[in-house]
Amino acid sequence: MFASPWAATRQGNAMAEPRSVHGGDLPFDEQWIRDQARAQLFGAAVPSTIGRFRVARRLGAGGMGTVYAAHDDALDRPVAIKLLHATGDPNANARLDAEARALASLAHPHVVAVHEVGTVRDDRFIVMELVDGSTLRTWQAEAGRPVASILHAYLQAGEGLAAAHRRGLIHRDFTPDNVLIDQDDARARVADFGLATEYDLPDEGPGAEPEASTQPGSSLSRTSRRHRGGTPAYMAPEQHRGLPASAASDQYAFCVSVFEALAGMRPADGGELPGGLPRRLHRALARGLDEDPTRRWPSLEPILDALRPRRRVLPWVALGSIGAAAALSLAIPSTPTCDPPHRSDDAAVLELRASFGAASDAAAGRTVSSALEAARAAHGDAVVRACTLAPKRTSAETEAARACLDEVERAHDALLARLRAPDARSRVSAPLLVEMLLPTARCNDDAALARWHPTPEQAWTDLLEAWIDLAALPVPPSAIEWTDARWKALTDDAAPASIRALALRVRAGRALRDGRAADAIGDLEACAAEAERVDLPALRIDALAALAYAVGQDRKRLNEAKQIASTAIAALDALGGHPVLRARVLHNLASVTARVRPPDYDAALARHDEAIAALEEAVGAKHPLTLRTNLGRHATRSRAGAPDPSLDATVAEVRAQWGDAHPTSAMALRIAGLAQLRRDDPKAAAETLRDAREATETRLGPEHPDLASDLYNEALALRALSRWSEAKVALQRGLHLHERTHGPEHPELIPWLTQLARTELALEDHEAATQTVRRALTLAELDGAAAKDFAKLRVLLAESLLPTDPITARVHATQAQTFLDDHAGFDALRRRARVVLDATSPGRPGSAAQSRSR
């Protein structure tokens, strides 16, 4: 197997680099070892640097790296630097950067501040605030440390941890060794967030078992070893199983730490809590230590509550070593202040965010949770403001403000609770719904408050559910029964104004879904007016956006629709914020702009792009809202004659997300089919457009007027395939539906009659064709159609009449020719007119004269 054992040696020699004294180009670790050894031998501490930082000493080392005390000469401040071992994984570095950025933005008195992240050679380092003190473990072990002050330190650490959780940051390795106690003020600060793992296997699902491979050298064993870099004694059971750590895992580690501090032993080692502790603390820790992460507290807050001393009673005094001074320092001032409301479920927002789970939904989860957080923060500010205003208000006013704010809070909580159990439908609606929350502004505006009336909670929640139900059909709708009587009760004048506004909006949404645009228009107009009256600006704007869409269904009212959408945009500009709602309004405005005569494709596409960019940012590229908006852009691109090749992918994604029965899927198929027709693939177009028509037919039934346009499109494809009889059937069906909707004399019928006549002509049924064109001409005259339309119809009539009545045929062809003489273009029409004129020219065989003699 080996020619000579010395072979590698010679190779090794050949590869040896020129002699050099050490230093210069060494990896940091190697340099550090040599410097340390040299310092031990010769007493000369060799100063090293990391990036621009001068390293003073080594503070400690862990599995993931080494911590040094250093000095930032640029800012002249001491720092702690954690040098992490190279992972070589660009994703890991990106995640580390993201996490460090998040940490850097988290300024909290009980979290060690992160200043910056850097790279030296291949190694990442994190520059942190240098805390002069000891670890919580050392500190709490010092003789005579009062239990109360230990618990106070854990309370502080827990607050830091909870603040990080609210930002979506998980510590992954909370232990008393990772909490630093400042020497000066005994302030506890949590360090080393998220550094416990190497971030290598973020996609490791619950099914993955990293333990399965323990072969040395296999990348998996190496990675999993790194991955579970937490401290085993404090790690939650799920972390031991190799599952990703969560806020609940941190909660477990926190409880182990508190337990250990109190009992002197960890619970797993048979520790027992000493007597004299409040029962609520027992309860809090027991639940936090549940094996099942889902059964732990939804957030750290209840545990922190249990750690907080009660106002008057100081239960821990009984524990002995506590001194009177410490007890006093723990007392909470009871002077009445205007504090923001205390929330026990801030983590619910986090949970909501986590429940969006999949990476494709992460952006939506972030947007939804931050919107809710912002709403809660605004509510908190409003409560403080109401409190400060109270002395200047009458007691009735104060009471109204309080009730108004309570109502807002309950509505927020209800929506939060609903969205925390997300399903396919609420996922779609959530980003918009959170922008529709009851606003707090009106609760402190005297004029608005005077108009305010309580909103019945149940009705509001039910209506939101009904709105969510509109989002997608594949999921069975909610169990709420929506009878006509209930709608009537919710929407009549006696209903509370805010309920009435919301009910009108939701009922309109249902009408639009069911293809009853006319019904929707009335409700939306009423909704917009009512929403304005009761200070629900976002709801008003959303109603206007929907109204623009509904009105725009009627081709003759496109200009009006555009006007409505522009009004909505202006109102939104004044209101500010609401990115998802804004994207929705832009989308509707763009769609109308592309269809109005003359269309402004550039403006439309610019708005589509703006809407899509906003949604990609807010909810991600794959979110249903983004997809639907993208679909609108595809439609406009196709109309503009510049179809986007990504259309097929978008259509597939839309159908996957909504299921084939949803109107959005039908719309996607329609857009795709028309694009196929435009790029001369009638075979594919016929199939796609048939699918679209069948989807609509399944949803709305065979007699629904909205089916007509699908039939028309399908007929166009069938004609392109020369499948004349099928095209004729489709056109006749559509024409029939149209007549029923618009009556027999509506100009909308003209294109139908034209297509039908041409199809009949192709089938050589000249009589039928003649009749059909004559009818179209009559309608065109009634409508005062454009000259070119008359010319087209006249040529068609001439062609229909040619075999039976060449004289009249020539008359119509001549009239058309008069128009064509004055206008450039229309080449096909010109050729067709020429054919008729040639065939009927006097003196030619088969000419008009001969025909007449017959």
């Binding site: 040696t9 090794g12 060494l26 990896p27 040599r34 050894a37 010769f42 080392a61 790296g65 070893r225």
Partner: protein, 217 residues
């Protein structure tokens, strides 16, 4: 006298600058000697400084005619043995370093020796799975580019023994690496000596780019 020997004599006479110069010349290979044989890099500086200190304190020490490098490796081996005995109970019970392997004592390499490339990691881990004596011989060969006679001299072993051990240990290493790579997804070609040498060179670079230890004479 060789330069190393001169420096050592002066150091023993109290010239710490000479000691420091000697340290600078030799610290690389001694650091490398320890780095793949302990669990944590943090333990290495102590071991390195003890080794150099041993140059000046050893009773039966340097007589001025032997190679300083050989002397250093002898001390380093003793320092390592003591460290392992102290650190690991099992090593104390079973102090046959010809049979004991580092991987059994500390299943993980120091994190700084975590190699990005699978083959390189398999190589590093493979070295640790050899008996400690074999690991020392192969690491001198691979990391310090010592030839058989030089290794024999450094470890005070007969040349034939070293030659035989190199052949056997290299074969075992190749087999171990082969096995661990086969367990990983994706097939691997047979491990040959050139591949081992290539990984060794890569690992050497990862540990520091300075040259292998300076030769005596």
């Amino acid at each position: 006298m060789h330069e190393d020997a001169e420096l050592l004599v002066r150091w023993r006479d109290g010239d710490s600058a000479a000691g420091e110069a000697l340290f600078v010349r030799r610290v690389g290979e001694i650091t490398r000697f320890f780095r793949n044989k302990v669990a944590d890099d943090a333990e290495v500086p102590d071991l390195v400084s003890q080794t150099f200190l041993g140059l000046t304190t050893a009773k039966d020490g340097f007589r001025g005619d032997a190679s300083v490098r050989r002397f250093l490796f002898q001390i380093a081996t003793k320092v390592l043995h003591t460290h392992l005995r102290k650190r690991y109970k099992r090593a104390r019970e079973q102090a046959d370093f010809g049979a004991l392997c580092i991987a059994a004592l500390t299943p993980r390499s120091p994190s700084s020796l975590m190699m990005r490339e699978r083959g390189r990691q398999a190589f590093v881990d493979g070295l640790r799975s050899l008996s400690l004596d074999d690991q020392i011989i192969l690491e001198l060969r691979y990391f310090e580019a010592l030839r058989g006679p030089e290794i024999a001299d450094a470890l005070e072993l007969p040349e034939g023994t070293v030659r035989g051990r190199i052949a056997r240990a290299t074969r075992r290493l190749a087999e171990t690496v082969q096995r661990s790579l086969e367990d990983a997804p994706g097939s691997r070609p047979a491990i040959d000596d050139a591949m081992l040498a290539a990984w060794a060179a890569d690992v050497r670079v990862a540990m520091g780019r300075d040259a292998p230890g300076q030769r005596d004479g």
